[in-house]
Symmetry: C2
Subunit: 430 residues, 2 copies
């Protein structure tokens, strides 16, 4: 298999992307049939290459970091961008962990026999070609490429311009792994240009070559992808997650869950953004919860009752209920029982992850049934919204659509299925 | 729940459709929680209403038929459009059959415990609101509405203008069923206008109110829907299905399968359009198969070998390999073994349904693994591509995408899932 002609100057972005699409489609047919041993050999060889290339990767990364500094970028961004020995080791380890996962391809999901003797199997198959469009974090190059490979898919990776040198150095290691295992090196391609036109072509599907787009990045990236994509997208636009504390909650459990759900990490999509408290709960519940949050350094924006509960709380506006802070800020509101919580979540939520804390089984059941989110939890922190915590191994993201992949997207969610029908000459009666 | 203001003259198409979307979204929350008994009560009451309203339905239908005649429409179309007592009885029976299906909602698809004690369940839930856009056949109104209801979804039905009176009469029976069961009558709405603008609004999703669009009709309708829809679509554009006869096929079995696959019904999407014969097969295979087709009244368009096999065969052009005839016409070609068949199907197929006839297990296995279609069959007719034949009960269509619903779309495929997590106060470690 020939690599596409990467001389962008020679062919232009449109033609380059078309060639990458064709190469990915061809590679997808081979990678779909690769054995587990081959795929794991590629992953382990790539991991080895990452470790042995650490000085080259660090050199490439320092170019990206230097460029970011010159542009005057802020501290948190620089921190996400910067690699060091331990982060490179973590990238290598992540590839090994993906190698250790079960093969998601080929398993028989269901099998039944029809009265006419036909045996029908529903068999897991790869999706085909996955386009990943991501920003800043260089490790996504390795994780996304590896998850696609493990699930038998070809990948077209389009990293952000900010991490382009790092991504190229990491991508070279993935290609080394593919070569070592005798797999087509075009099974994981990195778009060699950072011009935005390339993203536009990917969103249109490269003449049918791309089956799914996965965006990894901020809200504006995801919004653009969801708006423009002509192929299915696995993504969530935002995670406006709620924790509802019922009148029948254990207060100490509620306090621990709320603090963890909001503050363990404020920047992840499973972080709680709104605390809803049952109006019928004992009077001290709201002040205790609000005080715990404020004492832990969290800003509280609340309704009247919340402001009365603690003078440090400030008023919440209508906009607050619809805001994903991704920061140490929480909105707090009294609601009329589990029904009130469900209504609030239906109105302001993002169908991502929502939790109820209660010892009342009926209230829990009602909440779990009626809240229309990808993940609903009873007596646990919303920060468990994570493929690793679900036992899926690494995840490529979390999806909130109703299609196919909903919730954490791991290797199994990067597959589709086909029906395989075994006959003995059956024809269909008229 | 109030029905939207259906006075289109008063509010205009855009506002009417917006109101229908809001009403459907509200109804979807109730219908999602309806018990199996309630849903079945509604279906059986609707079936009863269909039978007892047969004269009203026939009167409405005769208006549609009369209008079609005045437009000078052709025989086959009139036949599809025309209802009579036995067709009305069949519509009623179909509702009863859907009532007899298992409840697809609420079943636990998977359940596992994490080391921290969290119990995670994957539970089947309805998709939400399904928009169905269809042409001519009046029975789709009943079937589509009933399948959505059984799967706990609200439906917005937009039938073709040709069958508008029939559809309204049938829809009235469905609403009667919903009322009898105490379910919101807006759970199944029929768009009261036949202007094309309404379709455009549906394809944009009615401000997020529609979760999935299902088009039922000809290729131009499906193409428009796939091109314009901003929400997921369950559909297939065409069914260019292949039957490949391997050198190790039993000729008599092959002959029966090919005749059935092509000619049992030529107008359905699972009909074979191209016969591929192994170049290494015994010399008499091709002539026997071609003669059988020609003798049965099928036109044969073939390559050189096919034309030599029978003088009645005419030459196939490049376009023939990519054509879904939906008629008594077949294209025929010699290929180089199972690999040649796989390559031809990858190039010209539509990822719908393809079959191999062979007694060679290795060849069958290779074909079944490498052909990337929703349904692949071994020693059976492609006309088995059907939800009823798969044991799904009625189907709303067949999908060829890689997402979610692939192959026949029955009640189970009209659902999604959510993760329900049961904890005992777990918080996520830092």
């Amino acid at each position: 298999m020939n690599r596409p002609d990467r001389t962008i100057e020679a062919v232009g972005t449109a033609e380059l992307m078309r060639q990458m699409g064709q190469a990915a489609r061809a590679a997808s047919r081979e990678i779909a049939l690769a054995t587990l041993a081959q795929k794991n050999e590629a992953l382990l060889a790539a991991s080895k290459a990452i470790r042995s290339s650490s000085s080259a990767i660090l050199a490439a990364n320092s170019k990206d970091v230097e460029a970011a500094r010159i542009r005057g970028t802020t501290g948190a961004f620089i921190d996400r961008l910067t690699l060091n020995d331990s982060r490179i080791a973590a990238i290598g380890r992540s590839l090994e962990e993906i190698a250790a996962l079960k093969d998601p391809v080929g398993s028989v999901l269901a099998k039944w026999q029809r009265p006419n003797g036909l045996v029908i199997e529903r068999v897991r198959v790869p999706l085909g070609v996955i386009g990943i469009i991501y920003e800043s974090r260089p490790n996504v190059t390795a994780d996304a490429g590896a998850l696609c490979l493990k699930s038998g898919n070809a990948a077209i990776l389009r990293g952000g311009s900010e991490s382009q040198h790092s991504s190229r150095a990491i991508h070279a290691c993935l290609v080394e792994g593919l070569k070592a295992a005798g797999l087509p090196e075009t099974a994981i391609q990195l778009v060699p240009t950072t011009d935005r036109e390339a993203v536009g072509h990917m969103l249109k599907g490269l003449d049918g070559a791309i089956d799914v787009i996965v965006p990894r990045g901020g809200k504006s990236l995801v919004a653009r992808v969801q708006e423009e994509a002509r192929v299915p997208v696995f993504a969530h636009l935002e995670g406006i997650c709620h924790t509802y504390v019922d009148k029948d909650a254990d207060l100490e459990m509620a306090r621990e869950i709320v603090l963890n759900a909001k503050l363990r990490r404020t920047g992840i999509c499973g972080a709680t953004e709104t605390l809803l408290v049952d109006r019928a709960a004992p009077e001290h519940y709201l002040p205790v919860l609000v005080k715990a949050l404020l004492d832990a350094g969290c800003a509280v924006r609340g309704d009247e009752a919340t402001q009365q509960a603690d003078s440090r709380a400030t008023p919440a506006t209508e906009e607050d209920w619809a805001t994903e802070y991704l920061d140490a800020i929480i909105s707090v509101k009294l609601v009329d029982g589990v029904g009130g919580a469900i209504d609030h979540i239906a109105r302001y939520g993002s169908q991502h992850t929502d939790a109820i804390v209660t010892n009342n089984a009926t209230a829990a059941e009602e909440f779990l049934r009626r809240v229309d989110s990808a993940i609903v939890l009873h007596n646990a922190s919303t920060q468990f919204a994570d493929g690793g915590e679900f036992g899926f191994g690494a995840e490529i993201g979390i999806a909130t659509g109703k299609m196919h992949a909903r919730g954490p997207v791991g290797v199994e969610q990067l597959t589709s299925f086909k029906y395989v029908v075994h006959g003995a000459g059956q024809v269909r009666p008229v």
